[in-house]
Protein backbone atom coordinates (compact mmCIF):
# COMPACT_ATOMS: atom_id res chain seq x y z
CA UNK A 1 0.00 0.00 0.00
CA UNK A 2 2.83 2.38 0.97
CA UNK A 3 4.55 1.64 -2.33
CA UNK A 4 1.42 2.56 -4.29
CA UNK A 5 1.02 5.78 -2.30
CA UNK A 6 4.61 6.78 -2.86
CA UNK A 7 4.27 5.97 -6.57
CA UNK A 8 1.28 8.34 -6.65
CA UNK A 9 3.41 10.98 -4.88
CA UNK A 10 6.08 10.64 -7.56
CA UNK A 11 3.54 10.65 -10.39
CA UNK A 12 2.16 13.89 -8.97
CA UNK A 13 5.69 15.36 -8.78
CA UNK A 14 6.35 14.53 -12.43
CA UNK A 15 2.94 15.75 -13.62
CA UNK A 16 3.50 19.11 -11.91
CA UNK A 17 7.05 19.36 -13.27
CA UNK A 18 6.04 18.42 -16.82
CA UNK A 19 3.07 20.76 -16.72
CA UNK A 20 5.33 23.63 -15.56
CA UNK A 21 7.77 22.80 -18.35
CA UNK A 22 4.95 22.57 -20.91
CA UNK A 23 3.57 25.94 -19.79
CA UNK A 24 7.00 27.45 -20.36
CA UNK A 25 6.48 26.55 -24.06
CA UNK A 26 2.97 28.02 -24.43
CA UNK A 27 2.96 28.09 -28.22
CA UNK A 28 3.59 24.35 -28.52
CA UNK A 29 0.22 23.52 -26.95
CA UNK A 30 -1.69 25.83 -29.29
CA UNK A 31 0.17 24.47 -32.31
CA UNK A 32 -0.71 20.92 -31.30
CA UNK A 33 -4.42 21.82 -31.12
CA UNK A 34 -4.19 23.49 -34.50
CA UNK A 35 -2.43 20.48 -36.02
CA UNK A 36 -5.17 18.12 -34.84
CA UNK A 37 -7.83 20.42 -36.29
CA UNK A 38 -5.98 20.61 -39.62
CA UNK A 39 -5.54 16.82 -39.81
CA UNK A 40 -9.25 16.25 -39.07
CA UNK A 41 -10.19 18.87 -41.71
CA UNK A 42 -7.97 17.22 -44.34
CA UNK A 43 -9.44 13.82 -43.46
CA UNK A 44 -12.91 15.31 -43.92
CA UNK A 45 -12.18 16.64 -47.40
CA UNK A 46 -10.49 13.42 -48.53
CA UNK A 47 -13.50 11.51 -47.24
CA UNK A 48 -15.73 13.61 -49.52
CA UNK A 49 -14.15 11.80 -52.50
CA UNK A 50 -15.85 8.61 -51.35
CA UNK A 51 -19.33 10.03 -50.78
CA UNK A 52 -21.97 7.92 -52.50
CA UNK A 53 -19.54 5.13 -53.33
CA UNK A 54 -20.27 1.68 -52.00
CA UNK A 55 -17.91 0.22 -49.40
CA UNK A 56 -16.95 -3.37 -48.89
CA UNK A 57 -16.09 -2.84 -45.25
CA UNK A 58 -18.81 -2.00 -42.80
CA UNK A 59 -16.60 -0.05 -40.40
CA UNK A 60 -15.35 2.06 -43.33
CA UNK A 61 -18.86 3.04 -44.42
CA UNK A 62 -18.08 6.54 -43.16
CA UNK A 63 -14.34 6.91 -43.99
CA UNK A 64 -14.06 10.12 -41.94
CA UNK A 65 -15.27 8.36 -38.78
CA UNK A 66 -12.88 5.47 -39.50
CA UNK A 67 -9.90 7.78 -40.08
CA UNK A 68 -10.34 10.00 -37.10
CA UNK A 69 -10.94 6.99 -34.86
CA UNK A 70 -7.80 5.43 -36.33
CA UNK A 71 -5.76 8.58 -35.90
CA UNK A 72 -6.98 9.12 -32.34
CA UNK A 73 -6.19 5.57 -31.34
CA UNK A 74 -2.83 5.51 -33.17
CA UNK A 75 -1.84 8.77 -31.46
CA UNK A 76 -2.78 7.26 -28.10
CA UNK A 77 -0.92 4.01 -28.61
CA UNK A 78 2.22 5.54 -30.03
CA UNK A 79 2.46 8.37 -27.48
CA UNK A 80 2.10 5.93 -24.63
CA UNK A 81 4.55 3.49 -26.18
CA UNK A 82 7.20 6.09 -26.86
CA UNK A 83 6.79 7.97 -23.58
CA UNK A 84 7.89 4.89 -21.64
CA UNK A 85 10.88 4.38 -23.88
CA UNK A 86 11.76 8.08 -23.81
CA UNK A 87 11.43 8.51 -20.06
CA UNK A 88 15.00 7.46 -19.37
CA UNK A 89 16.38 8.87 -22.61
CA UNK A 90 14.97 12.37 -22.01
CA UNK A 91 16.43 12.58 -18.51
CA UNK A 92 19.76 11.22 -19.81
CA UNK A 93 19.88 13.83 -22.57
CA UNK A 94 18.96 16.67 -20.22
CA UNK A 95 21.56 15.53 -17.71
CA UNK A 96 18.98 15.26 -14.91
CA UNK A 97 18.83 11.48 -14.61
CA UNK A 98 21.56 11.27 -11.97
CA UNK A 99 19.90 13.82 -9.71
CA UNK A 100 16.49 12.18 -10.07
CA UNK A 101 17.93 8.74 -9.32
CA UNK A 102 19.58 10.15 -6.18
CA UNK A 103 16.10 10.47 -4.68
CA UNK A 104 14.43 7.32 -3.37
CA UNK A 105 12.75 6.55 -6.71
CA UNK A 106 13.29 3.22 -8.45
CA UNK A 107 14.03 3.01 -12.18
CA UNK A 108 10.61 1.44 -12.97
CA UNK A 109 8.97 4.09 -10.75
CA UNK A 110 10.78 6.82 -12.68
CA UNK A 111 9.60 5.42 -16.01
CA UNK A 112 5.97 5.14 -14.94
CA UNK A 113 5.89 8.49 -13.10
CA UNK A 114 7.61 10.47 -15.83
CA UNK A 115 5.18 9.11 -18.44
CA UNK A 116 2.08 10.15 -16.51
CA UNK A 117 1.57 13.53 -18.14
CA UNK A 118 2.17 11.99 -21.57
CA UNK A 119 -0.69 9.56 -20.87
CA UNK A 120 -2.94 12.42 -19.76
CA UNK A 121 -1.98 14.51 -22.79
CA UNK A 122 -2.45 11.57 -25.15
CA UNK A 123 -5.95 11.05 -23.73
CA UNK A 124 -6.73 14.73 -24.22
CA UNK A 125 -5.32 14.99 -27.74
CA UNK A 126 -6.86 11.70 -28.90
CA UNK A 127 -10.24 12.81 -27.58
CA UNK A 128 -9.84 16.03 -29.52
CA UNK A 129 -9.75 14.09 -32.82
CA UNK A 130 -13.16 12.69 -31.96
CA UNK A 131 -14.48 15.97 -30.54
CA UNK A 132 -13.36 18.06 -33.55
CA UNK A 133 -14.82 15.44 -35.91
CA UNK A 134 -18.11 15.58 -34.05
CA UNK A 135 -18.32 19.39 -33.60
CA UNK A 136 -17.07 20.55 -36.99
CA UNK A 137 -17.93 17.68 -39.35
CA UNK A 138 -20.94 15.99 -37.77
CA UNK A 139 -19.32 12.59 -37.11
CA UNK A 140 -21.45 10.58 -34.71
CA UNK A 141 -20.51 7.57 -32.59
CA UNK A 142 -23.34 5.32 -31.51
CA UNK A 143 -21.57 2.65 -29.49
CA UNK A 144 -20.56 2.30 -25.85
CA UNK A 145 -17.81 4.77 -24.92
CA UNK A 146 -17.09 2.76 -21.77
CA UNK A 147 -16.46 -0.46 -23.70
CA UNK A 148 -14.35 1.41 -26.27
CA UNK A 149 -12.35 2.95 -23.41
CA UNK A 150 -11.77 -0.44 -21.79
CA UNK A 151 -10.48 -1.86 -25.08
CA UNK A 152 -8.30 1.24 -25.42
CA UNK A 153 -6.81 0.61 -21.96
CA UNK A 154 -6.20 -3.05 -22.77
CA UNK A 155 -4.43 -2.21 -26.03
CA UNK A 156 -2.46 0.51 -24.24
CA UNK A 157 -1.24 -2.08 -21.73
CA UNK A 158 0.01 -4.22 -24.62
CA UNK A 159 1.77 -1.18 -26.08
CA UNK A 160 3.13 -0.32 -22.64
CA UNK A 161 4.72 -3.81 -22.50
CA UNK A 162 6.37 -3.07 -25.83
CA UNK A 163 7.32 0.38 -24.46
CA UNK A 164 9.04 -1.32 -21.51
CA UNK A 165 11.00 -3.48 -23.97
CA UNK A 166 11.92 -0.37 -25.90
CA UNK A 167 13.00 1.38 -22.65
CA UNK A 168 15.26 -1.60 -21.94
CA UNK A 169 16.96 -1.06 -25.30
CA UNK A 170 17.29 2.64 -24.58
CA UNK A 171 18.94 1.87 -21.27
CA UNK A 172 21.55 -0.49 -22.67
CA UNK A 173 22.15 0.74 -26.23
CA UNK A 174 21.05 4.39 -25.76
CA UNK A 175 20.03 4.83 -29.40
CA UNK A 176 18.88 2.73 -32.33
CA UNK A 177 15.95 1.00 -30.68
CA UNK A 178 14.61 -1.45 -33.32
CA UNK A 179 11.27 -1.92 -31.53
CA UNK A 180 10.35 1.76 -31.86
CA UNK A 181 11.22 1.86 -35.56
CA UNK A 182 9.48 -1.41 -36.47
CA UNK A 183 6.40 -0.88 -34.36
CA UNK A 184 5.90 2.77 -35.34
CA UNK A 185 6.16 2.18 -39.08
CA UNK A 186 4.31 -1.09 -39.29
CA UNK A 187 1.45 0.09 -37.04
CA UNK A 188 0.91 3.15 -39.21
CA UNK A 189 0.99 1.15 -42.46
CA UNK A 190 -0.44 -2.26 -41.66
CA UNK A 191 -2.85 -1.96 -38.71
CA UNK A 192 -5.68 -0.30 -40.58
CA UNK A 193 -5.33 3.29 -39.47
CA UNK A 194 -5.69 4.75 -42.99
CA UNK A 195 -7.25 1.85 -44.96
CA UNK A 196 -8.64 -1.62 -44.20
CA UNK A 197 -5.81 -4.19 -43.89
CA UNK A 198 -7.91 -6.53 -46.04
CA UNK A 199 -6.91 -4.41 -49.05
CA UNK A 200 -3.28 -5.40 -48.61
CA UNK A 201 -1.74 -8.34 -50.48
CA UNK A 202 -2.08 -11.53 -48.49
CA UNK A 203 1.50 -11.72 -47.20
CA UNK A 204 1.21 -8.17 -45.90
CA UNK A 205 -2.06 -9.00 -44.22
CA UNK A 206 -0.04 -11.49 -42.16
CA UNK A 207 2.01 -8.58 -40.85
CA UNK A 208 -1.14 -6.77 -39.78
CA UNK A 209 -2.20 -9.92 -37.91
CA UNK A 210 0.83 -9.81 -35.61
CA UNK A 211 0.30 -6.15 -34.66
CA UNK A 212 -1.68 -5.53 -31.48
CA UNK A 213 -2.92 -2.22 -32.87
CA UNK A 214 -4.86 -4.07 -35.61
CA UNK A 215 -7.01 -5.80 -32.99
CA UNK A 216 -7.35 -2.71 -30.82
CA UNK A 217 -8.46 -0.61 -33.77
CA UNK A 218 -10.81 -3.26 -35.12
CA UNK A 219 -12.51 -3.61 -31.76
CA UNK A 220 -12.73 0.12 -30.99
CA UNK A 221 -14.05 0.99 -34.44
CA UNK A 222 -16.54 -1.86 -34.18
CA UNK A 223 -17.81 -0.55 -30.87
CA UNK A 224 -17.90 3.16 -31.73
CA UNK A 225 -18.98 3.06 -35.38
CA UNK A 226 -20.99 -0.16 -35.65
CA UNK A 227 -22.35 -0.16 -32.10
CA UNK A 228 -20.85 -3.60 -31.42
CA UNK A 229 -21.23 -5.07 -27.95
CA UNK A 230 -18.86 -7.15 -25.84
CA UNK A 231 -19.83 -10.41 -27.58
CA UNK A 232 -18.90 -9.04 -31.03
CA UNK A 233 -15.67 -7.58 -29.71
CA UNK A 234 -14.73 -10.77 -27.88
CA UNK A 235 -12.36 -12.05 -30.61
CA UNK A 236 -10.00 -9.06 -30.74
CA UNK A 237 -10.19 -8.65 -26.94
CA UNK A 238 -9.05 -12.25 -26.40
CA UNK A 239 -6.21 -11.76 -28.87
CA UNK A 240 -5.13 -8.61 -27.02
CA UNK A 241 -5.25 -10.49 -23.71
CA UNK A 242 -2.99 -13.14 -25.20
CA UNK A 243 -0.55 -10.47 -26.40
CA UNK A 244 -0.54 -9.03 -22.89
CA UNK A 245 -0.05 -12.41 -21.19
CA UNK A 246 3.04 -13.06 -23.31
CA UNK A 247 4.55 -9.58 -23.62
CA UNK A 248 4.15 -8.22 -20.08
CA UNK A 249 6.21 -10.86 -18.20
CA UNK A 250 8.85 -10.92 -20.96
CA UNK A 251 9.19 -7.14 -20.99
CA UNK A 252 9.41 -6.94 -17.18
CA UNK A 253 12.11 -9.63 -17.15
CA UNK A 254 14.12 -7.97 -19.93
CA UNK A 255 13.75 -4.62 -18.19
CA UNK A 256 15.06 -5.91 -14.86
CA UNK A 257 18.06 -7.42 -16.68
CA UNK A 258 18.69 -4.13 -18.50
CA UNK A 259 18.59 -2.12 -15.27
CA UNK A 260 21.00 -4.53 -13.60
CA UNK A 261 23.36 -4.40 -16.59
CA UNK A 262 23.26 -0.61 -16.85
CA UNK A 263 24.01 -0.24 -13.14
CA UNK A 264 26.83 -2.76 -13.33
CA UNK A 265 28.37 -1.05 -16.33
CA UNK A 266 27.75 2.38 -14.85
CA UNK A 267 26.04 3.36 -18.10
CA UNK A 268 22.62 4.20 -16.70
CA UNK A 269 23.40 7.89 -16.44
CA UNK A 270 25.33 8.11 -19.69
CA UNK A 271 23.89 9.01 -23.03
Amino acid sequence: MNRILSLFDRMRAFVIRDFQLAVSYRLAFLLRLLTILIVVTIAYYISRIFVGKGNLFSDWRDPLAAWITGLAVLNYFMTNFSSLANAIRTEQMQGTLESVLMTPISVPGLIVASSTLDFIEATLYSSLYLVFGSIFFGVTYDGSYLLAFMILILTTMVFASLGILSASFAMVFKRGDPIAVLLGTSTAVFSGVFFPPQLLPEFMQNISKILPATYGLEAIRGVLIEDNGLSEARGPILTLLMFLAVLLPISLWVFSRAVRRAKREGSLIQY
Binding site: D9, R10, I16, E98, V100, P104, S106, R264, G266
Partner: protein, 339 residues
Protein backbone atom coordinates in the same frame (compact mmCIF):
# COMPACT_ATOMS: atom_id res chain seq x y z
CA UNK B 1 30.97 4.26 17.47
CA UNK B 2 29.32 3.12 14.23
CA UNK B 3 30.78 4.49 11.02
CA UNK B 4 28.74 6.76 8.78
CA UNK B 5 30.31 5.16 5.73
CA UNK B 6 32.20 1.91 5.66
CA UNK B 7 33.97 0.79 2.50
CA UNK B 8 35.43 -2.70 2.38
CA UNK B 9 37.66 -4.09 -0.39
CA UNK B 10 35.83 -2.13 -3.05
CA UNK B 11 36.78 -2.72 -6.67
CA UNK B 12 35.12 -1.56 -9.82
CA UNK B 13 35.95 -2.64 -13.34
CA UNK B 14 33.94 -1.16 -16.19
CA UNK B 15 33.44 -3.79 -18.89
CA UNK B 16 34.81 -2.89 -22.30
CA UNK B 17 32.19 -1.41 -24.58
CA UNK B 18 30.35 -3.82 -26.88
CA UNK B 19 32.32 -4.00 -30.13
CA UNK B 20 31.07 -5.77 -33.25
CA UNK B 21 34.68 -6.20 -34.45
CA UNK B 22 35.62 -8.08 -31.30
CA UNK B 23 32.52 -10.22 -31.56
CA UNK B 24 33.45 -11.24 -35.10
CA UNK B 25 37.02 -11.92 -34.01
CA UNK B 26 38.39 -9.13 -36.19
CA UNK B 27 39.58 -6.94 -33.37
CA UNK B 28 41.15 -7.85 -30.06
CA UNK B 29 38.84 -7.84 -27.06
CA UNK B 30 39.48 -4.71 -25.06
CA UNK B 31 40.14 -5.33 -21.37
CA UNK B 32 37.85 -3.99 -18.69
CA UNK B 33 38.81 -0.60 -17.24
CA UNK B 34 39.73 -0.92 -13.58
CA UNK B 35 38.48 2.25 -11.95
CA UNK B 36 38.87 1.17 -8.31
CA UNK B 37 41.14 -1.45 -6.81
CA UNK B 38 40.63 -2.85 -3.34
CA UNK B 39 39.59 0.40 -1.67
CA UNK B 40 38.84 0.24 2.04
CA UNK B 41 38.24 2.99 4.57
CA UNK B 42 35.67 4.21 7.06
CA UNK B 43 34.29 7.67 7.69
CA UNK B 44 33.19 8.57 11.21
CA UNK B 45 29.90 10.16 12.09
CA UNK B 46 30.13 13.94 11.77
CA UNK B 47 33.51 13.83 10.06
CA UNK B 48 34.41 15.94 7.03
CA UNK B 49 36.50 13.56 4.98
CA UNK B 50 38.49 14.76 1.97
CA UNK B 51 39.11 12.77 -1.17
CA UNK B 52 41.72 14.12 -3.53
CA UNK B 53 43.39 12.82 -6.62
CA UNK B 54 44.11 13.72 -10.21
CA UNK B 55 41.48 13.48 -12.93
CA UNK B 56 40.61 9.87 -13.73
CA UNK B 57 41.92 8.63 -10.38
CA UNK B 58 38.59 7.04 -9.39
CA UNK B 59 37.04 9.80 -7.25
CA UNK B 60 33.84 10.04 -9.28
CA UNK B 61 33.38 6.28 -9.49
CA UNK B 62 33.82 5.99 -5.72
CA UNK B 63 31.33 8.80 -5.10
CA UNK B 64 28.81 7.26 -7.48
CA UNK B 65 29.09 3.84 -5.88
CA UNK B 66 28.45 5.38 -2.47
CA UNK B 67 25.51 7.25 -4.00
CA UNK B 68 24.15 3.91 -5.37
CA UNK B 69 24.32 5.15 -8.98
CA UNK B 70 26.93 2.56 -9.95
CA UNK B 71 27.30 -0.96 -8.59
CA UNK B 72 30.69 -2.22 -7.44
CA UNK B 73 32.30 -5.25 -9.06
CA UNK B 74 33.44 -6.60 -5.69
CA UNK B 75 33.44 -5.33 -2.14
CA UNK B 76 30.81 -3.50 -0.14
CA UNK B 77 29.79 0.01 0.84
CA UNK B 78 27.53 0.59 3.80
CA UNK B 79 26.05 3.99 4.51
CA UNK B 80 24.57 4.42 7.98
CA UNK B 81 24.43 0.63 8.12
CA UNK B 82 22.59 0.22 4.77
CA UNK B 83 24.20 -1.72 1.94
CA UNK B 84 24.56 0.40 -1.20
CA UNK B 85 23.47 -2.44 -3.50
CA UNK B 86 20.82 -4.39 -1.63
CA UNK B 87 19.38 -1.43 0.31
CA UNK B 88 19.91 1.31 -2.23
CA UNK B 89 16.58 3.08 -1.58
CA UNK B 90 17.39 3.39 2.14
CA UNK B 91 20.88 4.68 1.30
CA UNK B 92 19.43 7.36 -0.97
CA UNK B 93 17.18 8.50 1.87
CA UNK B 94 20.16 9.24 4.12
CA UNK B 95 22.50 10.69 1.56
CA UNK B 96 22.59 13.93 -0.42
CA UNK B 97 24.77 14.46 -3.49
CA UNK B 98 25.85 17.88 -4.70
CA UNK B 99 27.67 17.28 -7.95
CA UNK B 100 29.47 19.95 -9.91
CA UNK B 101 27.29 19.16 -12.96
CA UNK B 102 25.06 22.18 -13.63
CA UNK B 103 22.93 20.36 -16.22
CA UNK B 104 21.36 18.36 -13.42
CA UNK B 105 18.50 20.88 -13.05
CA UNK B 106 15.59 21.85 -15.28
CA UNK B 107 16.74 25.09 -16.86
CA UNK B 108 13.28 26.37 -17.78
CA UNK B 109 11.91 25.94 -14.26
CA UNK B 110 12.45 28.46 -11.49
CA UNK B 111 14.65 27.68 -8.51
CA UNK B 112 11.57 27.14 -6.35
CA UNK B 113 9.93 24.86 -8.92
CA UNK B 114 13.13 22.83 -9.26
CA UNK B 115 13.57 22.33 -5.54
CA UNK B 116 9.86 21.61 -5.01
CA UNK B 117 10.04 18.89 -7.67
CA UNK B 118 12.90 17.15 -5.88
CA UNK B 119 11.21 17.66 -2.49
CA UNK B 120 8.13 15.86 -3.85
CA UNK B 121 10.31 12.96 -4.98
CA UNK B 122 11.42 12.68 -1.35
CA UNK B 123 7.70 12.59 -0.42
CA UNK B 124 8.11 15.66 1.78
CA UNK B 125 4.60 17.01 2.52
CA UNK B 126 3.74 20.14 0.50
CA UNK B 127 3.74 22.68 3.34
CA UNK B 128 6.89 21.32 4.91
CA UNK B 129 8.57 21.23 1.50
CA UNK B 130 7.75 24.90 0.85
CA UNK B 131 9.17 25.89 4.23
CA UNK B 132 12.31 23.82 3.66
CA UNK B 133 12.84 25.24 0.16
CA UNK B 134 12.52 28.82 1.46
CA UNK B 135 14.88 28.06 4.34
CA UNK B 136 17.53 26.58 2.04
CA UNK B 137 17.25 29.37 -0.52
CA UNK B 138 17.80 31.85 2.32
CA UNK B 139 20.74 29.91 3.79
CA UNK B 140 22.46 29.79 0.41
CA UNK B 141 21.79 33.45 -0.49
CA UNK B 142 19.44 32.50 -3.32
CA UNK B 143 16.26 33.99 -1.86
CA UNK B 144 16.11 36.86 -4.34
CA UNK B 145 16.43 34.52 -7.31
CA UNK B 146 13.72 32.10 -6.10
CA UNK B 147 11.36 32.96 -8.98
CA UNK B 148 14.12 33.17 -11.57
CA UNK B 149 14.60 30.39 -14.11
CA UNK B 150 17.54 28.13 -13.28
CA UNK B 151 19.06 28.80 -16.70
CA UNK B 152 19.40 32.48 -15.87
CA UNK B 153 21.60 31.89 -12.82
CA UNK B 154 25.33 32.50 -12.68
CA UNK B 155 27.54 29.40 -12.53
CA UNK B 156 28.27 30.04 -8.87
CA UNK B 157 24.58 30.23 -7.99
CA UNK B 158 23.90 27.06 -9.95
CA UNK B 159 26.47 25.39 -7.73
CA UNK B 160 24.71 26.69 -4.60
CA UNK B 161 21.47 25.23 -5.93
CA UNK B 162 23.12 21.81 -6.11
CA UNK B 163 23.99 22.13 -2.42
CA UNK B 164 20.47 23.33 -1.58
CA UNK B 165 19.01 20.30 -3.33
CA UNK B 166 21.35 17.89 -1.57
CA UNK B 167 20.07 19.20 1.77
CA UNK B 168 16.34 19.07 0.95
CA UNK B 169 15.55 15.98 3.03
CA UNK B 170 18.02 16.98 5.75
CA UNK B 171 20.28 13.94 5.16
CA UNK B 172 22.83 12.91 7.79
CA UNK B 173 25.38 12.26 5.03
CA UNK B 174 26.53 14.52 2.20
CA UNK B 175 28.69 13.93 -0.86
CA UNK B 176 30.07 17.24 -2.08
CA UNK B 177 31.93 17.45 -5.36
CA UNK B 178 33.95 20.67 -5.73
CA UNK B 179 31.46 22.76 -3.78
CA UNK B 180 33.31 26.06 -4.26
CA UNK B 181 34.66 25.59 -7.79
CA UNK B 182 32.78 28.46 -9.40
CA UNK B 183 32.42 30.77 -6.40
CA UNK B 184 34.27 34.06 -5.92
CA UNK B 185 36.70 34.12 -2.96
CA UNK B 186 34.25 35.72 -0.54
CA UNK B 187 31.40 33.40 -1.51
CA UNK B 188 33.79 30.43 -1.36
CA UNK B 189 34.84 31.36 2.17
CA UNK B 190 31.19 31.63 3.19
CA UNK B 191 30.44 28.27 1.61
CA UNK B 192 33.34 26.69 3.51
CA UNK B 193 32.04 28.05 6.76
CA UNK B 194 28.54 26.78 5.86
CA UNK B 195 29.98 23.31 5.18
CA UNK B 196 31.91 23.38 8.45
CA UNK B 197 28.74 24.39 10.30
CA UNK B 198 26.89 21.34 8.91
CA UNK B 199 29.38 19.03 10.56
CA UNK B 200 28.85 20.83 13.88
CA UNK B 201 25.06 20.54 13.79
CA UNK B 202 23.23 18.33 16.23
CA UNK B 203 23.00 15.62 14.92
CA UNK B 204 26.05 16.30 12.78
CA UNK B 205 26.20 15.85 9.02
CA UNK B 206 28.97 13.56 7.77
CA UNK B 207 30.59 14.93 4.63
CA UNK B 208 32.68 13.33 1.92
CA UNK B 209 34.32 16.23 0.11
CA UNK B 210 36.09 15.84 -3.21
CA UNK B 211 37.91 18.90 -4.43
CA UNK B 212 40.87 20.06 -6.42
CA UNK B 213 41.18 23.01 -4.07
CA UNK B 214 43.67 21.53 -1.64
CA UNK B 215 43.61 24.51 0.69
CA UNK B 216 39.92 23.93 1.09
CA UNK B 217 40.53 20.28 1.92
CA UNK B 218 43.18 21.24 4.46
CA UNK B 219 40.92 23.81 6.03
CA UNK B 220 37.82 21.64 6.31
CA UNK B 221 38.82 18.00 6.54
CA UNK B 222 39.89 16.07 9.59
CA UNK B 223 41.23 13.28 7.37
CA UNK B 224 42.15 13.05 3.72
CA UNK B 225 42.54 10.15 1.32
CA UNK B 226 44.71 10.48 -1.75
CA UNK B 227 43.46 8.29 -4.54
CA UNK B 228 45.46 7.54 -7.65
CA UNK B 229 44.90 4.95 -10.38
CA UNK B 230 41.98 3.54 -8.42
CA UNK B 231 43.93 2.89 -5.23
CA UNK B 232 44.06 4.77 -1.95
CA UNK B 233 47.70 5.89 -1.66
CA UNK B 234 47.55 7.84 1.58
CA UNK B 235 44.95 8.23 4.28
CA UNK B 236 45.58 10.39 7.31
CA UNK B 237 45.22 13.90 8.68
CA UNK B 238 46.44 16.55 6.23
CA UNK B 239 49.30 17.45 8.60
CA UNK B 240 50.53 13.92 8.98
CA UNK B 241 50.30 13.20 5.26
CA UNK B 242 52.48 16.20 4.51
CA UNK B 243 55.00 15.32 7.18
CA UNK B 244 55.16 11.64 6.40
CA UNK B 245 55.49 12.24 2.74
CA UNK B 246 57.94 15.05 2.75
CA UNK B 247 59.46 15.62 6.20
CA UNK B 248 61.36 18.69 5.00
CA UNK B 249 60.45 22.32 5.11
CA UNK B 250 61.75 25.48 3.59
CA UNK B 251 62.79 28.30 5.96
CA UNK B 252 62.82 31.96 4.95
CA UNK B 253 64.53 34.55 7.17
CA UNK B 254 64.17 38.26 6.43
CA UNK B 255 67.08 40.23 7.89
CA UNK B 256 67.75 43.91 8.41
CA UNK B 257 71.10 45.68 8.76
CA UNK B 258 73.24 43.18 6.92
CA UNK B 259 74.44 42.95 3.32
CA UNK B 260 74.39 39.86 1.14
CA UNK B 261 78.12 39.38 1.61
CA UNK B 262 77.81 39.90 5.38
CA UNK B 263 75.06 37.30 5.61
CA UNK B 264 77.01 34.77 3.54
CA UNK B 265 80.10 35.28 5.74
CA UNK B 266 78.14 35.03 8.99
CA UNK B 267 76.20 31.93 7.97
CA UNK B 268 78.78 29.95 6.00
CA UNK B 269 80.70 28.47 8.99
CA UNK B 270 77.55 27.30 10.78
CA UNK B 271 75.01 26.72 8.03
CA UNK B 272 76.07 25.45 4.61
CA UNK B 273 73.76 25.41 1.58
CA UNK B 274 71.86 28.64 2.03
CA UNK B 275 70.54 31.03 -0.60
CA UNK B 276 70.93 34.74 0.09
CA UNK B 277 69.18 37.45 -1.91
CA UNK B 278 68.22 41.08 -1.69
CA UNK B 279 64.60 42.21 -1.35
CA UNK B 280 64.69 46.00 -1.34
CA UNK B 281 66.56 47.12 1.78
CA UNK B 282 66.19 43.69 3.34
CA UNK B 283 68.34 40.61 2.95
CA UNK B 284 66.52 37.29 2.55
CA UNK B 285 68.05 33.97 3.56
CA UNK B 286 66.38 30.71 2.53
CA UNK B 287 67.39 27.16 3.25
CA UNK B 288 65.87 23.70 3.61
CA UNK B 289 65.92 21.52 6.67
CA UNK B 290 64.52 18.29 8.02
CA UNK B 291 61.51 19.20 10.18
CA UNK B 292 62.78 19.51 13.77
CA UNK B 293 66.56 19.50 13.07
CA UNK B 294 68.91 22.21 14.44
CA UNK B 295 69.60 24.10 11.19
CA UNK B 296 67.15 26.87 12.09
CA UNK B 297 68.74 27.30 15.56
CA UNK B 298 72.21 27.46 14.02
CA UNK B 299 71.14 29.97 11.39
CA UNK B 300 69.36 32.23 13.86
CA UNK B 301 72.30 32.12 16.26
CA UNK B 302 74.71 33.04 13.45
CA UNK B 303 72.80 36.14 12.36
CA UNK B 304 71.90 37.27 15.89
CA UNK B 305 75.51 36.91 17.07
CA UNK B 306 76.40 39.19 14.16
CA UNK B 307 74.09 41.86 15.60
CA UNK B 308 71.59 41.54 12.82
CA UNK B 309 67.84 42.05 13.32
CA UNK B 310 65.58 39.20 12.25
CA UNK B 311 62.46 40.84 10.79
CA UNK B 312 60.58 37.61 10.12
CA UNK B 313 61.00 33.87 10.04
CA UNK B 314 58.63 31.75 7.95
CA UNK B 315 58.59 28.05 7.32
CA UNK B 316 56.91 26.50 4.34
CA UNK B 317 56.03 22.85 4.57
CA UNK B 318 55.07 20.58 1.71
CA UNK B 319 51.53 21.27 0.58
CA UNK B 320 49.02 18.58 -0.22
CA UNK B 321 49.56 19.53 -3.84
CA UNK B 322 53.23 18.60 -3.52
CA UNK B 323 52.26 15.34 -1.87
CA UNK B 324 49.79 14.67 -4.66
CA UNK B 325 52.44 15.43 -7.24
CA UNK B 326 54.89 13.14 -5.44
CA UNK B 327 52.31 10.32 -5.46
CA UNK B 328 51.80 10.87 -9.18
CA UNK B 329 55.58 10.80 -9.82
CA UNK B 330 55.87 7.53 -7.91
CA UNK B 331 53.01 6.12 -9.99
CA UNK B 332 54.69 7.23 -13.20
CA UNK B 333 57.99 5.62 -12.16
CA UNK B 334 56.16 2.39 -11.30
CA UNK B 335 54.33 2.53 -14.63
CA UNK B 336 57.60 2.98 -16.55
CA UNK B 337 59.16 0.16 -14.57
CA UNK B 338 56.37 -2.13 -15.61
CA UNK B 339 56.76 -1.36 -19.31
Amino acid sequence: MPFAISIKNLSKAYPAPFAIGALLGRAPLRPAVEALKDVSFDIDDGEIFGLIGPNGAGKTTLTKIIATLVQPTTGTVTVKGFDSVTESAQVRRVIGLAAAEERSFYWRLTLEQNLMFFARLYSIPQRKARARVSELLAQLDLERSARQRFGQLSTGNKQRMAIARSLLNDPPMLLLDEPTRSLDPVAAARMRSFIASLAKKDPPVTILLTSHNLNEIEELCRRVAIISHGRIRELDTPDRIRTLHRPRERVRLVLDGISIEGAVNALAPRLPEVEVSQDGPKTVVTFSREVGDDRLDRGLRAVLDNGTRVISCETERATLLEVLEAVEREEAVKGNGNL
